[in-house]
Subunit: 139 residues, 2 copies
Amino acid sequence: MSDLLKQPRPDTGVASVSILVCASCRAAGADPDAPRPGAVLAAGLVRALDQDGDATVTVETVECLSVCKRPCTVALTGDGRWTYIYGDLDPKDGVETLLTFARQYRQTPDGIVPWRERAEAIRKGVVARLPPITIASSR
Amino acid sequence: MSDLLKQPRPDTGVASVSILVCASCRAAGADPDAPRPGAVLAAGLVRALDQDGDATVTVETVECLSVCKRPCTVALTGDGRWTYIYGDLDPKDGVETLLTFARQYRQTPDGIVPWRERAEAIRKGVVARLPPITIASSR
């Protein structure tokens, strides 16, 4: 999986979004030697994207996002868009939920998907959001 | 205050960091007509920075950071550094806490201030963090 994650996806010229998956956190009481839920989620996302031939969504595993009590935790980001952080995602069911949401997010100019169109796991899982990088960098 | 916030601080060539203060959230049970705690915090930060003549830290108020139950909420960001989101900050005491921390953050290359050097409100208030923008944008 790590090799897949390291390979940049081809630049298709299509606006793309990134899912950053925290690979550090562990479910409470989980076997310390078991694969981290974030690693399972990231592998599932990469597999699904490859199967779909979808190069508009990229996946990266990242170090601790400091939301340690709510695995799986991810951030969804894209140029000019609000960045969202979500927790409590299931490592298996989260794949379809996240890919559907990433595609909705990609269709928006600012990353703001209407509330009624968000899946329940997305509505409930929000941890925080940050304004578009272009705003955060206007100093 | 809004005028002060809109004026870009002079570019001194010194690496600067930004504090983004959520101006939307309200403390539970607060008078709906009272100033929002984030607005009070942002005004205090701007006043303190002006008094200190410190142009290395900028302050912006932003729309809802989606951490609605933990006012005041802020994000601390800087080029090449991890971005941190903190909640539960007091609108008055948070000024000194945040400015001290922003200056510690500015002294680091990556935004990671050693745990033992962080104030208690910073240790307890962390909501999430995001990798440096240069990483998040590598797609």
